[in-house]
């Protein structure tokens, strides 16, 4: 009984360590891709790059981080309706971000296709990132049903915490991708 009582807090610490190690491994992947941008292209970028659109989708992603944070804060305090609402907002904003990336890609194919030096980096970086955003959206959708059933409590909401942390990680990655692709010159 005593070992079971001590197991729960340790389990949370172990879970958190595990997800941060996962983030570290993903950081190596994105770090390599970001470094490749400078190795292949230096600091040059095409004039046709749609910087305003890049700024708008960056803003959307930051906003989605706010709603994800509000969702996590809500579930940690037992505010289930606020949790579900903000998860929904996060999903909508994430989908808008993906749509924005799609728009960028349609322009990118015209001005700097994948055969182009910058195009290679652009589509690889944004593609990898968009894939992570997409999996994040799917994971957030998975949260909705258990959230509606009151599955997540202030004492036990690791599932929600993990997925929301992943969403913030995706935002942190974009914080570095946006200036690397759109602004550095």
């Amino acid at each position: 009984m005593a070992s079971q009582a001590s197991e729960a807090p340790n389990r949370l610490a172990i879970n958190r360590l595990g997800i941060w190690l996962f983030f570290l491994s993903e950081s190596f992947l994105f770090g390599a891709l970001l470094t490749t941008r400078y190795y292949l292209q230096g600091v040059s970028r095409p004039a046709d790059l749609n910087q305003p659109l890049g700024f708008v989708i960056s803003f959307i992603l930051i906003l989605s981080s706010l709603t994800a944070y509000r969702a996590e804060s809500a579930v940690a305090h037992g505010a289930q309706a606020l949790f579900r609402r903000n998860i929904l907002y996060t999903i909508i904003l994430g989908t808008l971000f993906i749509a924005g990336v799609g728009l960028e890609w349609s322009e990118g194919f015209r001005f700097f296709p994948p055969s182009h030096g910058f195009g290679t980096i652009f589509f690889t970086l944004t593609g990898f990132h968009a894939f992570h955003v997409l999996t994040g959206i799917l994971a957030l959708i998975v949260l909705i049903l258990p959230g509606q059933r009151g599955r997540f409590t202030p004492e036990n909401h690791w599932g929600a915490e993990a997925i929301i942390k992943y969403w913030h990680f995706v935002d942190v990655v974009w914080v570095f991708i946006f200036p690397t692709l759109y602004l550095v010159s």
Binding site: P9, N10, L12, A13, R16, L17, W20, V43, Q51, F55, S58, F59, I62, L63, S65, L66, A68, Y69, R70, S73, A74, A76, H77, A79, L82, E155, K165, H168, F169, D171, V172, V175, F176, F178, P179, Y182, L183, V184, S185
Partner: protein, 72 residues
């Protein structure tokens, strides 16, 4: 019903979002107006944007803690 602890957390969220929005605007301004040599500023701004997310949103300071954070 929002408790004081939740209210405080939500206000922190708005504060961090506000700071991130300002950083993004400055970053965009530097990136579009500064033709050469702007990358050190962009690097600093990128880290300035990442740190609040890591600390306030991702709670990196909770690493290794065996108890959930005290929300007050």
């Amino acid at each position: 019903m929002k408790t004081n602890g939740l209210r405080r957390k939500l206000m922190i969220g708005f504060g961090v979002f506000g700071a991130l929005a300002v950083i993004k605007v400055i970053e965009y301004f530097v990136g579009t107006r500064v033709k050469t040599g702007g990358w050190p500023y962009l690097l600093v701004l990128a880290f300035a944007g990442a740190v609040p997310i890591l600390y306030y949103f991702m709670h990196i300071n909770d690493l290794g803690k065996t108890k959930d954070r005290d929300d007050g």
